[in-house]
Symmetry: C2
Subunit: 338 residues, 2 copies
């Protein structure tokens, strides 16, 4: 039997460290309660480029370069880049990787990409296949609206439970030395579908997958809520977080304030942003610049980061399909003693 | 230093076996010279469904089920599914995975997905994270034309060097026992861009990446052409294969007939199919049902399978971007003696 697998959870015997990370966001995220925490915020939604897509690419490139700089890495130090984004054919990530002389593995799991990249990257390191990897993900309000719903110029009206895609890119460098947090476990999730068909209600489409992955993670490791200081979901928003809470309560788990959602937090709950943020960048920028600092300061110690993805395309919605969800989780913690 | 990495090549110390594989194709592929070799061919391009996309999903589901059946696997035996396809948001793979009670990692590298899935799956097994994985990929002429170019009803005229997307799905089960071929190495490729902007000329966009990955693989392992019975590229087509040959010749490598291309072969060179086949399904169906049987019969022993992906989206073409390429490679061979 696979020595480092229990159920769906990969257990790292030599957990890699996060040796550098960078978050780049847009103007709306800068205005939010965590605005001052991010490494850099563009005031221009196109990041000085002539299209939204080129702007998103700029943001993701900046994040990747920032993570390498903070970790003191040259491209030749990095064995592998793993990443993706929400655009068709993960074209942001493809073009960011084009500028790097480093092998690239493209991933797609919608807004769970950041966690998929961290988990797979850590597994490849623990397995002896790499000493240093970069994991990155991005999302962008303008590019996502145009692709998934309507170009923002149309001024389409949306229901209040719709989420607002986070304009943000995050990159993480994983290595063996010099970090203050470790990635110790990766729980890969299943695709679940409870029949949600409204593409404005992605939080509800993703919540069942989040619940399933959290419960599976606890079962695999014989752990429970007391073992974690924070269960941090990616981008369920207010609606999806509420549903996740009630799904966990059905299993007699009451996380209370131990459950936080990056999407619900990032815009401070303002009405303009509907049910809160979404997007592959949301969990990345919040983990790195809001919660990892809390670990480093000793305020918390162990986080279960649950990336949540809604697996839809405009075509599947037009064809009347429902929206499956997926959730992948990694444990981010400070390893002390030993 | 990472024990199982040389340059860009992951070296498996316990190479996983291919314990079952299945190829499902469409009517055009059935008419080709390898038509009788595939496990199943649909005569209806929608595979009995009411849309092309649902047809592609049916084909990919059949391949996955076929691979599990041939390997004698229940879903509970499988630790992980890895896969993807050419559709936006890899929606074929997402919906196929939804029907399985197995964790899923979505991948995207265009037509290199099959090799990315085989390589990553094998690495996770060798690393101690899984005992059994499924790797799959699909493509479909109808769904790809509609998404990347024009719906086929428009009857658009194309240049003779355009490739014809293979309607095909392939799935592989990797395990430890009962197979007759092994995956021993995985070389992850870089994203390369020599400036090709014509989306009908993807073979030329991918050839530089294929050459780079082949040369890197040889350098990493201190190997050369004599060490392989076949260099099998994914879907360069006639044009791309010609360019790859000339790029290799510049480095004094003359593979001659040792270099074959799944795309150039699958339709037998008929004019109707332009420069030959393309698509994420091409390499999968040809490896499993044409070349692995040759290994099993003892006609050849070691293949370097080079999956080639063109990283474009309709949007990037509209925005005047060039088309980067990527190539990932795995070594598929029969391990004898020991």
């Amino acid at each position: 039997m696979a020595k480092k697998l229990k159920g769906q959870t990969l257990i790292f015997s030599n957990p890699p460290q996060i040796i550098g990370h960078t978050s780049v966001v847009g103007p709306e995220e800068k205005k939010g309660p965590y605005g001052k925490d991010f490494d850099f915020a563009y005031q221009d939604v196109k990041c000085g480029k002539d299209s939204w897509e080129k702007g998103e690419k700029q943001m993701a490139s900046d994040a990747l370069k920032g993570a390498m700089d903070k970790a003191g890495l040259d491209p030749s130090d990095v064995n592998l880049i793993l990443g993706g984004d929400l655009l068709d054919e993960i074209i942001t990530a493809d073009y960011v990787a084009r500028d790097q002389d480093i092998p690239f593995l493209g991933l797609y799991s919608a807004c769970a990409i950041m966690v998929e990249a961290l988990g797979l990257g850590a597994a490849l390191m623990d397995g002896g296949f790499a000493d240093c990897v970069l994991a990155f993900a991005s999302s962008d309000y303008q590019t996502a609206e145009r692709q998934y719903r309507n170009p923002i110029e149309y001024g389409a009206q949306y229901p209040p439970y719709k989420q607002y895609t986070v304009t943000g890119a995050a990159a993480y460098a994983l290595g063996w030395l010099g970090g203050q947090t470790w990635i110790t476990h990766f729980t890969a999730g299943k695709v679940l579908d409870l029949g949600v068909k409204d593409p404005n209600n992605m939080g509800s489409a993703m919540a069942p997958a989040a619940a399933d992955t959290i419960l599976q993670h606890f079962a695999d490791l014989e752990r429970g809520l007391p073992d974690y200081d924070l269960i941090l979901s990616g981008d369920l928003g207010k609606m999806g977080k509420k549903m996740l809470l009630s799904l966990l309560q059905e299993k007699n788990l009451n996380p209370g304030k131990k459950l936080q959602d990056c999407g619900a937090l990032i815009f401070g709950g303002k009405e303009k942003y509907g049910a809160g943020g979404s997007g592959a960048g949301a969990s990345g920028v919040m983990l790195g610049n809001v919660f990892i600092p809390k670990i480093i300061k000793g305020e918390i110690n162990r986080i279960l980061l649950v990336g949540t993805g809604a697996l839809l395309s405009p075509l599947t919605i037009q064809q009347g399909e429902s929206i499956p969800g997926i959730a992948h989780a990694v444990v981010v913690e400070k390893i002390t003693g030993g």
